[in-house]
Each structure stands twice: as structure tokens, then as C-alpha cells.
């Protein structure tokens, strides 16, 4: 399969890239890792006039922690960089748990977290993780930068709120105020398949009770599901059998899965309940980061 014809621009600065998007007049797409965009081009789901390849832009392949604890992930930070990161496990365990489960190891060498958020596939792993963590996207356009909470950034399947001449230049995860724990569990038929269902849980504790909670779900609705009621049920409470079971039920109730070749709707709800319960139970037993495919799991 060949992609449709397009004009190719390889800018050397963000300003040049924004100018190229402006020149594209709404028919330009940013190419970062390309692991979703190139298949979309080949399948003719996308046929932009211009591709603006940002891989040559300097200084975007970072993930770093500001002095105040804020984590910043640049637009060219690949999944593999997060998988091999030495700073994520203790600071953002939910993200460390998810990184080795994104796509497959070869795709992880190219694909980017920011690109995955922009692509806004309801089955994308990072959208759930960043939603659970209360993260944002920083977009840069001709008039400067603005920060968009990820929950408002994605407006529907494959839709985001970027203007035609804006580039998502980084994702931001706010600093935790308490002790962090969490996890990401994903059921997939095989590596590289979309999730049958997956759950991201991000917690902060202070004084033995949950001070902040985020729970988000992958692959069980038309968009990433922010299970706010399930998360709210944990805040101000310790993790006990009762609070864990209550939050897991609320998470399953928030899921809106459809029956398809990956499983029935009832089965996917069951998986959500099981995964949220499993992560919370492991955390309550002292695990900081819980990750796995539901088959091969590990707890740290």
C-alpha cells in the first residue's frame, strides 16, 4: 500500500514547523513517530496535503522533572525512552507500568507519547494513563503556548482541540503532593493488539489515606473514560477491602464497552472491575507500581 501524495516539509525549528502548518491551511498534519499516522495514510483514512515532519526539531526528545516535581515529556520522547527511564518508577509508577505495554517493542522505538495523545484513539494506552494522572498538553502556535488538560484535549475518537496551526510540544504531569502509587493493567489477545480492556490507576497518599486518585479506562467506550466517581470514592479514605471493592464497582459502572470480537460487553466490564481491584489490592499490600498484561504481571 502506498500513502496518498503529499508535500513533505522537514522544518528545523518550531517556528518553521508552525509556519509550515499555517501554509498548509488546515490540510497539514504533523508527523512525529508516525506509528499511527503512516498506517492511516496507507489505509486512506487520512490524506493531508502536507506532512510536517518534526523529527528534525532539536530539543524535543526529553522527559525530565522540574525542581517542583512536574514531569515534562517532549513531543519526540519515544515510548522506549519511557520504558527504559530511570526516573519514572519512583515518581510516576502508573506511567512506568504502562510503558512496556504500549504497542510492541519495535513500534515503541518510534512512537511517541505526545503523538499517541494527539491521535486520540479510544484504545490508546497513554490517554488513560495521562488522564488518571491529571496531565495536560502544551500546544504551541503562532500566538505562543497554551496548556490544555488532557480531559479537555480529546473531544472524541481521533479528535483533539489543537488548532490547525498548533503543535503539541509536550505533555505535563503535575507534581505529586503525597506518596505515589498506582498501576496499569491491560488485557490484550497478543502483544501489539489493541486492548480488550485496560485500567490506569494513579494514587497519592498522605497520612495513610488517599489524598488524590485518578482512574481511567482504555478500550471500553467511544473515548478514554475518566472514572471520576470511582476515583472520588477513594479520596480521604484508606485502602480497605470495602473501599477497594466500592471503587472497582464504580469503575466497572463507568465503562461503556461494546461487544465485539475481543469479548462481550459484560466480560469487558468484568475485566475493568478485576483490574482496578487488583491494582488497588497490590498497592494496599505495599506495591508501588503494578503493571502487566493480565497474564504476565509484575509488581514492584
Amino acid at each position: 500500500m502506498y500513502p496518498p501524495r503529499f508535500r513533505y516539509e522537514a522544518p528545523r525549528s518550531i517556528e518553521e514547523a508552525i509556519a509550515a502548518l499555517q501554509a498548509g491551511g488546515g490540510e497539514a498534519k504533523v508527523l512525529a513517530g508516525g506509528q499511527s499516522l503512516v498506517p492511516l495514510l496507507k489505509l486512506r483514512f487520512a490524506s493531508p496535503d502536507v506532512l510536517v515532519d518534526i523529527n528534525g526539531l532539536p530539543g524535543l526528545n526529553y522527559h525530565k522533572v522540574d525542581p517542583d516535581g512536574t514531569l515534562r515529556i517532549g513531543a519526540l520522547c519515544r515510548h522506549v525512552d519511557l520504558e527504559r527511564s530511570t526516573i519514572l518508577a519512583s515518581r510516576v509508577p502508573t506511567m512506568a507500568a504502562a510503558a512496556p505495554l504500549v504497542a510492541d517493542p519495535i513500534v515503541r522505538n518510534r512512537g511517541t507519547l505526545v503523538g499517541s495523545l494527539c491521535h486520540a484513539d479510544p484504545q490508546g494506552d497513554w490517554a488513560a494513563v495521562v488522564t488518571a494522572l491529571g496531565g495536560s498538553i502544551v500546544a504551541q502556535g503562532p500566538n505562543g503556548r497554551r496548556t490544555i488538560p488532557v480531559a479537555q484535549f480529546v473531544t472524541g475518537p481521533f479528535q483533539n482541540t489543537l488548532a490547525d496551526d498548533e503543535i503539541a510540544i509536550e505533555a505535563v504531569i503535575p507534581a505529586a503532593k503525597g506518596t505515589v502509587a498506582g498501576g496499569y493493567l491491560k488485557l490484550e489477545r497478543r502483544v501489539g493488539d489493541f486492548a480488550t480492556a485496560a485500567a490506569a490507576v494513579a494514587l497519592e497518599f498522605s497520612g495513610g489515606v488517599v489524598s488524590r486518585a485518578g482512574i481511567a479506562l482504555t478500550g471500553v467506550g467511544g473515548a478514554t473514560i475518566d472514572a471520576t466517581e470511582a476515583a472520588a470514592a477513594l479520596v480521604g479514605k484508606p485502602l480497605t477491602i470495602e473501599t477497594i471493592s466500592g471503587a472497582s464497582e464504580l469503575a466497572a459502572a463507568a465503562a461503556r464497552p461494546k461487544t465485539d470480537h475481543r469479548g462481550t460487553a459484560a466480560y469487558k466490564k468484568h475485566i475493568v472491575r478485576t483490574f482496578v481491584e487488583r491494582i488497588l489490592t497490590r498497592v494496599s499490600a505495599g506495591g508501588q507500581g503494578v503493571g502487566g498484561t493480565g497474564i504476565a504481571e509484575r509488581a514492584a
Partner: protein, 174 residues
């Protein structure tokens, strides 16, 4: 200079711009003139006649088209040839000289790591990348490292054995 993609070039209207790119392929600098939409896999196969890189699913699933891009395995059906400008690409042809076998290739031969052979180039490239980074992987690490490559014949058993064989050989233990 290799002119690229005869079948596409013929129907390229004069106003479609092409781009001249220079890519180091298997240690050799190659300058090619490509239309931006040309995929790296097609450039390698049709343009440079390096048909060891296979295209299987064409949708970023199967890994048959895996090549090393600056040392890291990537799926060449999911990268544009223009994106490789100034970079290094290693295909299965670059693993060893014409009359030699790389230890990974020897391993696949010795341990019967292939049947039809379609996935084999991608498997070997992914295996080489693993062993470059981790010379003494466990069986589990081999399985995860190859989890982006599909084989429909072997059930993976002998592929994993082949990679472990190669690891041993590269460590000088056999």
C-alpha cells in the same frame, strides 16, 4: 545515484516534487531521488533491490519488514524513505558478508528457527538488536523482544532457541 521507483516515477506528474536523500545502507552511502510518499520498505526492496526485507501485513503488525534504523529495530513499512535522510539503515543483507553468516543467522540454521522463512529477516534483525543491548538474555527476555514479530509456522519455540544459541556463540561460549 539510484533513480527510484520506476513504476511510481512513470506516473508522477511533473509538478510532484521529489527529494534527494542520502542514506547509509549496510555501511554504504546511497543517494536516491524519492517521492515523499515512498515507504522505506519499498525503497529498500524496489529501489535498492535489497529484497531480504519482506513486507507482510503492511499495517505495522507483523514485523517482517524490520530493519535497524541508527541501530534500533523499526518497521520499515511505517517510515517514509525521506525520513531516513542522513541516517543509517541495516537490513538482513548487512548482517554478514555474502559468503558469511552472522551468529544470529547461524543460530537460525542450527536450531531450525525457520520454516517458510518469510518472517525470518525481521526476526533476525530484532534478535540482533536485542543481543547488541543485552548479550545474555533470558528466554523470557527473548520472547518479549521478539513480540513485535509474527511467525505463522514455528510456534516460536525454535526461534527463541536460535536466538539463545546466537547469544551463547556471541559470548564465546560455544
Amino acid at each position: 545515484m539510484t533513480s527510484l521507483f520506476e513504476e511510481i516515477r512513470e506516473d508522477v506528474p511533473a509538478d510532484v516534487p521529489t527529494k534527494r536523500v542520502t542514506i547509509t545502507v549496510n555501511g554504504q552511502s546511497r543517494t536516491v531521488e524519492v517521492e515523499p510518499r515512498l515507504l522505506l520498505a519499498h525503497m529498500l526492496r524496489q529501489g535498492l533491490r535489497l529484497t531480504g526485507t519482506h513486507t507482510g501485513c503492511d499495517t505495522t503488525n507483523c514485523g517482517a519488514c524490520t530493519v535497524l534504523f541508527d541501530g534500533d529495530p523499526i518497521k520499515s513499512c511505517t517510515m517514509l524513505a525521506v525520513q531516513a535522510d542522513g541516517h543509517e539503515v541495516t537490513t538482513v543483507e548487512g548482517l554478514a558478508g555474502p559468503s558469511e553468516l552472522h551468529p544470529v543467522q547461524e543460530g537460525f540454521k542450527d536450531e531450525h528457527g525457520l520454516q517458510c522463512g518469510f518472517c525470518t529477516p525481521g526476526m533476525m534483525i530484532a534478535a540482533k538488536a536485542l543481543l547488541d543491548r543485552n548479550p545474555d538474555p533470558t528466554e523470557e527476555e527473548v520472547r518479549w523482544a521478539l513480540s513485535g514479530n509474527l511467525c505463522r509456522c514455528t510456534g516460536y519455540q525454535n526461534i527463541v532457541k536460535s536466538v539463545l544459541w546466537a547469544a551463547k556463540k556471541l559470548r564465546g561460549e560455544s
